[in-house]
């Protein structure tokens, strides 16, 4: 078999792991990101400061470093306190990987969500409050449903970024796309075909997704022009 095709097929075996980690992580990221966005808009200063610190710390450090801390640093710390802790007892190395990816993308998504919320005319909140809705109710029923439509493309772009970022997870024991290629390379020494195969496997995921986002944006622009 052609070595390039072989490299591609081997890399593709990592697709389920990459997709699974990315999908679980984006769900965690969306939920926690929304919480962060709401905290950053809260009236209480403490919540605002905490949200800001979280976002700054996460965005100011590489995800690989965060992954190493979560996967190896945390167990070391707990063991130094006399607590016997191994990720393998809690579902394996995919667990810290998913946690890191999710809470990492939460920091980025919180900014996306915040900008979406802020893009909604303040008259919407006033109209909702004037009907007697609490702030939380107005957010849930009026503001967030409108914000979601605005942020959907940016949200999907973050998903594309996340898929690519998961490539660092090979360093913490997750056998995803890149790791498959590396393992094959170290046994076959087909270095160029191995990494080209890896690149193609990522493109198989990211390019259709990007195309779909563009299509959605064009459709929405047309719809808005017609209204």
């Amino acid at each position: 078999m052609n070595v390039y095709l072989k490299g591609f097929l081997i890399a593709c075996k990592g697709i389920p792991a990459t997709v699974a980690v990315s999908m679980i992580a984006i769900v965690i990221g969306a939920a926690f990101g929304l919480l962060l966005a709401l905290c950053s808009q809260a009236r209480g200063k403490t919540l605002r400061v905490l949200a800001k610190i979280y976002v700054d710390v996460v965005r100011g450090t590489p995800m690989l470093v965060q992954a190493l801390i979560m996967a190896y640093g945390i167990p070391w710390l707990l063991q130094s306190w006399g607590i016997g802790f191994k990720w393998d007892d809690f579902g394996g190395m995919a667990v810290p990987a998913v946690i890191v990816c999710g809470f990492n993308s939460a920091a980025y998504l919180s900014e996306v969500i915040r900008s979406g919320i802020q893009a909604i005319d303040k008259g919407q909140m006033e109209a909702a409050r004037s009907l007697g809705m609490t702030r939380g109710m107005a957010m849930r029923l009026i503001i967030i449903p409108q914000a979601i439509r605005i942020i959907l493309p940016a949200f999907a772009n973050e998903f594309v970024t996340l898929i690519k970022e998961t490539s660092v997870l090979g360093y913490v024991g997750v056998v995803e796309i890149l790791r498959r290629g590396q393992l094959w390379n170290s046994s076959s020494f087909e270095t160029f075909p191995a990494y080209i195969g890896v690149a193609l496997a990522y493109m198989l995921l990211t390019i259709p997704l990007s195309k779909a986002i563009n299509g959605y944006e064009r459709k929405r622009a047309r719809k808005e022009a017609a209204a």
Partner: protein
């Protein structure tokens, strides 16, 4: 007891004093029109009544009950608000715009709320638009839906913040007609407006505001036809044709 009692209301935005010690009562069934130049504080006063603006000082009582941060959500359900920019919820159908308040705030039965919403839409002449989205309606239609949305909460008072100022001239009449009909059935209304004709025809009382004060008040005839204060005369000479 007055429906609304405003005592010593003050509002500042930073150093800018917008309302300077306003005292005012509004009686049940009364239609009060507030007129005055822009920046006179009339919209701010209206927005202070349902606490969309937090007053800097003073007290406001609705039905004898002092509005505080604690009870504001409940008291707001007694006051319908109509905005200059309509502020309909664009992601909901016209019908859902009307039912979302009663269903979520008052926990009304969905079917009941829809039945009542259809009655209200018929009252403002828009029953056939129930399934449309706000963006498909003209400005005048949107404002009539906004009035119906506020009425869906069964308010005791309706607050109108320049309800016709954002409308094309040919749509002003249809909105004013809905408001006139509302006044006729005895709704308590406070209307910030530039429509002097409407104030003359419908108001029980007119307030002229300028510079954060109530300069003059009385019947429409007294304030708009025979103003006593120079400031009022000056303003009216510029707006009345």
């Amino acid at each position: 007891m007055s429906m609304i009692e405003i005592k010593g209301l003050k509002k500042s935005f930073g150093d800018l004093e917008v309302l300077k010690n306003i005292d005012q009562n509004v009686e049940e069934g009364e239609v009060l029109c507030i007129v005055g130049p822009s920046g006179s504080g009339k919209s701010t006063m209206l927005r202070c009544i349902n606490r969309l603006e937090e007053p800097t000082g003073g007290e406001i009582y609705i039905d004898g009950e002092l509005i505080t941060d604690k009870n504001v959500d409940r008291i707001r359900t007694k006051m319908g608000m109509v905005f200059q920019q309509f502020n309909l919820f664009p992601h909901m159908s016209v019908l859902d715009n009307l039912t979302c308040g009663p269903v979520n705030v008052k926990k009304a039965d969905k079917k009941e709320a829809e039945k009542k919403a259809m009655e209200l839409l018929a009252r403002v002449g828009l029953a056939e638009k129930a399934d449309q989205f706000p963006r498909n309606l003209s400005g005048g239609q949107q404002q009539r839906v906004a009035i119906a949305r506020a009425l869906a909460m069964d308010p005791e008072v309706m607050l109108f913040d320049e309800p016709t100022s954002a409308l094309d001239p040919e749509m002003v009449g249809e909105v004013l007609d809905v408001m006139k009909a509302l006044a006729k059935v005895g709704m308590t209304m406070i209307v910030v407006t530039h429509e002097m004709g409407f104030a003359k025809e419908v108001a029980d009382r007119v307030i002229f505001m300028d510079g954060g004060y109530i300069v003059e008040q009385g019947t429409p005839d007294e304030v708009l036809n025979h103003p006593q204060m120079e400031r009022t005369k000056d303003f009216l000479s510029k707006v009345l044709i």
